[in-house]
């Protein structure tokens, strides 16, 4: 029939949109959030994640409201409508740089478990290049293919989550998570900002809303997706604290992999971390491809060009090269967390959408009068 690349607007159903958001938000977070969160909030880690979830629900609401004001344009396009040409371009550039940095960091973080956990080392450049090849393949096939992949992967994610809940069942020690009501709320709230900033990647919705067919159901899908992701991450954190105690969670970098390696349900069902690595591979791939697509689309609109595939092909090697810049694991894991939580989260992920929303509401009221 039609041999287009499947990226005409709109082409996603709201269910596919929700699956994409869930996969992206859970991907790196479920494996890397528990440890730093528990470092700050000790045994109240799960509660911290829930508080972060509340913050992101608010952000999600703002995002969808803003997106629905200009239902056919992405944020790069309508930021120029709202703020004027120059300021709009600057705002667009800020968003694009944010997405670019997330992409680069995610790609580098993707290689970490394969170096830390396996007994034989594969040079990480090989992993970078091979992953990028897959990402570019999906980009060439279009957004529709990516959303179909994510819908399939989310079934596996559900199975994985159930496994995570069941396998450590024998080793749970309920005292680890008590008292249920924190005695020190300051510690808890301070720990919530990290998970909030990870979950606040929901602002990619600003770029994806024009592609969704049924605009009325977007609000519900978005909030539901954020809720499910937050609950998933909170559940994983809770199980880890229950099984391993908060001191061990905070000293291990990839606590979810450790959980699965040590969970021994019976003589045969042990050492199931290969399942975790398969999930890691699938989920992070979805996140990388989605960000790649958003970057390619964003740059296309920012520069005013027509074809986003060529931009994708040019961007891919740039991202690979940039992801080799961080020299060691401290720079990859700890430093971005500080920058991301302290600066990017309040400014880009929180303040900018509010600002854009307020200005556009004011403008629309001005137009009516």
């Amino acid at each position: 029939m039609d041999k287009k690349n499947g990226t005409e607007k709109p082409c996603l159903s709201h269910h596919q949109y929700a699956c994409l958001i869930i996969n992206t938000l859970v991907s790196i977070s479920a494996f890397m959030i528990p440890s730093p969160t528990v470092y700050t909030s000790k045994q109240y880690g799960a509660l911290s994640v829930l508080i972060g979830l509340v913050q992101v629900i608010v952000i999600g609401y703002l995002v969808v409201k803003l997106g629905l004001m200009y239902p056919d344009k992405t944020v790069i396009e309508y930021s120029q409508d709202i703020l004027g040409k120059v300021a709009g371009k600057i705002v667009g550039l800020i968003f694009l740089l944010t997405f670019f940095s997330v992409n680069v960091l995610a790609l580098r973080q993707f290689t970490l478990p394969f170096q830390a956990f396996v007994s034989v080392d594969i040079p990480y450049t090989v992993i970078l290049i091979m992953t990028m090849i897959l990402v570019v393949y999906v980009l060439a096939k279009g957004l529709k293919t990516l959303s179909i992949c994510s819908e399939l992967i989310i079934n596996f994610l559900a199975i994985f989550f159930i496994l995570l809940m069941i396998l450590p069942m024998r080793n749970l020690d309920w005292i680890n998570i008590k008292p249920l009501v924190p005695h020190d709320w300051g510690m808890t709230i301070k720990g919530s900002f990290l998970s909030a900033s990870f979950l606040a990647e929901d602002i990619i919705g600003l770029m994806l809303i024009p592609y969704v067919k049924d605009k009325k159901k977007i609000m519900k899908s978005n909030q539901l997706a954020v809720l499910i992701s937050g609950l998933c991450i909170s559940g994983v954190t809770a199980v880890e604290i229950l099984t391993m105690g908060y001191e061990r969670v905070d000293s291990t970098i990839f606590s979810t992999f450790m959980l699965l390696r040590e969970a021994q349900f019976s003589q045969t069902l042990e050492r199931l971390e290969s399942v975790a690595i398969a999930m890691w591979g699938g989920l992070v791939f979805i996140k990388l491809s989605l960000y790649m697509f958003i970057l390619a689309e964003g740059f296309r609109e920012w520069l005013g060009l027509k074809d986003n595939k060529k931009i994708g092909f040019i961007l891919a090697p740039i991202i690979v090269i940039c992801s080799m810049i961080p020299q060691n694991i401290t720079q990859v894991v700890r430093f971005p967390n500080h920058v991301w939580v302290s600066y990017v989260y309040p400014i880009v992920l929180f303040a900018l959408p509010i600002l854009l929303l307020l200005i556009s509401v004011i403008k629309k009221r001005g137009e009516k009068n």
Binding site: I122, Y137, I148, L152, I153, A278, G281
Partner: protein, 520 residues
């Protein structure tokens, strides 16, 4: 292939052009002798072209000529119903003068059942090739076409590689009419349309598209027709030629058109709103569109209990996974990530591998190649020695290879499980495809370990996700997810729950049955 070409096409290219022009210019002549010459020259004086000149009911001045192809006609019908009355029946002169010779012969003399008039010479030649007898009458510039098809055809047997345990055991054979009739017997709906087409320059194969008007999606029907009409080929020997030419992704190992030899499968698909393509001289019928989850469906599921059939379907999905991914997973675990297996397991693995001279990858690869050789030998071996070869193969592959220390027993088990699993899927095209898929997975896993294995899984997933079958995404209804249609993918829900036809076929009539509850 060249035999067919020799029989049905002209030898010289240059002459072919001239002859074609001449053919088109040829008209049915009023003189029967001229007609005989024309027929003989068009058909190059082949030995099986028979022309018979008889008198018209005993008249001495008017003759009738019958032209047919020996071997394609039913001689009993020809002799009893056409020749006999023409030769023996006396002519009633009054009526003869009133209606004219052609109409008299048609209406008062020939007692065959399917007679029509034709006025183009090229149509006569086409009909001769279809097994009809042409009757030329002196003094008329039209001719009569009588259907006397009677070539030998294969009996209606169940196809060998799609057999089921209990249910209808019919299978298509090589005659188009027989196949179409079988469908008619299942669906006695006047809305069942059969639209004929002809493809092929020298083959001129008949192709019939079947669908039920009102249930099938008009877009798909038109798309199928459009694609078939665009085919430009010399002859179609099997429907797979057409499948390759109209398919969305002919190079992909996953087929986007279903090919089957069972009428009950085709009927079920037509009733869901799909389009069936029948091709003459092959029993394989194509059905469009075809989705991934139909690989694991077999007519068995619908004739047996629904709960058990659902379990069997889940088993088939599992064997799909095993057939493609097991060797790669084994290699990545054994070569790279030995910490991911339980300890007891790894002890027996290691003790089995002690005296094997090959690396794990070479061992697995060697065994897989051996199994492929065995497969091919099994197909092409003469029937009498077939039994022996299976025993020899089992002995060579299984016992001796292990005792000689060439391979470890674990690898033998893995490879045999893989091979068996590739046949557990009820579709022959699927098992053909799964012979090839484990190899890339094996190679990438052998080079990159568990990451390579995960990479292969994702690459395969992307490939399947990007396929479309006539516009419908290949993985519907699991992704894009439609809850209603999932009644018949992985699980087979009971009959009374399947009230609606698949929603990805956009048509007006979606109800299969009245939506009353069971027992009302």
């Amino acid at each position: 292939m060249s035999l067919f070409n020799k029989l049905f096409s002209n030898k010289d290219n240059g002459n072919k052009q001239d002859k074609k022009q001449q053919e088109q210019k040829l008209k049915i002549d009023k003189s029967v002798d001229k007609n005989i010459d024309n027929v003989k020259s068009t058909l190059n004086g082949n030995f099986d072209v028979i022309t018979r000149k008889v008198s018209l009911g005993g008249k001495t001045d008017q003759y009738v000529v019958l032209a047919y192809l020996d071997g394609m006609v039913d001689k009993t019908v020809l002799n009893q119903s056409i020749l006999r009355p023409i030769v023996l029946k006396p002519v009633d002169d009054e009526k003869f003068r009133k209606v004219g010779p052609l109409q008299y012969v048609e209406e008062f003399m020939i007692t065959a059942n399917d007679v029509s008039e034709v006025d183009k010479f090229s149509d006569c030649i086409d009909d001769i090739f279809n097994g009809c007898t042409i009757v030329f009458v002196d003094g008329c510039d039209k001719a009569l076409v009588c259907d006397t098809k009677g070539w030998k055809e294969r009996s209606i047997d169940e196809p060998g590689n799609e057999a089921i345990a209990m249910g209808p055991h019919m299978g298509f054979n090589e005659t188009l009419l027989t196949n179409v009739t079988m469908i008619r017997r299942y669906i006695r709906d006047p809305n069942l349309h059969f639209e004929p087409m002809t493809i092929g320059r020298s083959g001129k194969t008949d192709v019939v598209i079947a669908f039920i008007d009102g249930i099938a999606d008009d877009n798909i029907v038109n798309e199928v027709k459009k694609r078939i009409q665009q085919i430009d080929i010399d002859a179609v020997i099997d429907s797979s030629y057409i499948a390759e030419l109209i398919s969305d992704a002919p190079l992909s190992p996953f087929a986007t058109l279903q090919s089957t030899e069972r009428p009950d499968k085709v009927v079920a698909n037509i009733l869901e709103g799909k389009v069936a393509i029948f091709v003459d001289s092959t029993p394989v019928v194509l059905v469009a569109p075809f989705l991934f989850w139909e690989f694991i469906q077999s007519p068995d599921d619908y004739y047996e209990n629904s709960i058990i059939s659902s379990g069997v379907r889940v088993l088939r999905v599992l064997s799909l996974f095993i057939a493609v991914f097991l060797p790669g997973f084994y290699i990545s675990i054994v070569s790279f990530n030995q910490e991911m297996i339980p300890t007891r397991f790894i002890l027996s693995l290691m003790s089995g591998r002690l005296f094997v001279p090959f690396s794990p990858f070479a061992e697995v690869f060697l065994m897989m190649v051996l199994i492929e050789i065995l497969r091919e030998a099994g197909i092409h071996f003469p029937g009498t020695i077939g039994q022996t070869i299976s025993i020899v193969g089992a002995l060579a592959v299984g016992q001796s290879a292990v005792s000689a220390g060439l391979v470890s027993p674990f690898v033998v088990i893995i490879i045999s499980v893989t091979t068996l699993a590739s046949y557990a899927v009820p579709s022959y095209t699927a098992s053909y495809m799964m012979r090839f898929l484990p190899y890339p997975v094996l190679i990438v896993s052998a080079l990159l370990g568990i990451y390579g294995f995960a990479w292969c899984m994702v690459a395969l997933l992307i490939h399947i996700a990007s396929l479309r079958s006539f516009g419908i995404p290949y993985l519907t209804p699991v992704a894009p997810f439609r809850l209603i249609d999932n009644k018949d993918t992985l699980l087979r829900m009971p009959r009374w729950l399947m009230k609606y036809r698949p929603s990805f076929i956009n048509a007006e009539n979606k109800k299969r049955m009245a939506t009353k509850k069971k027992g009302e």
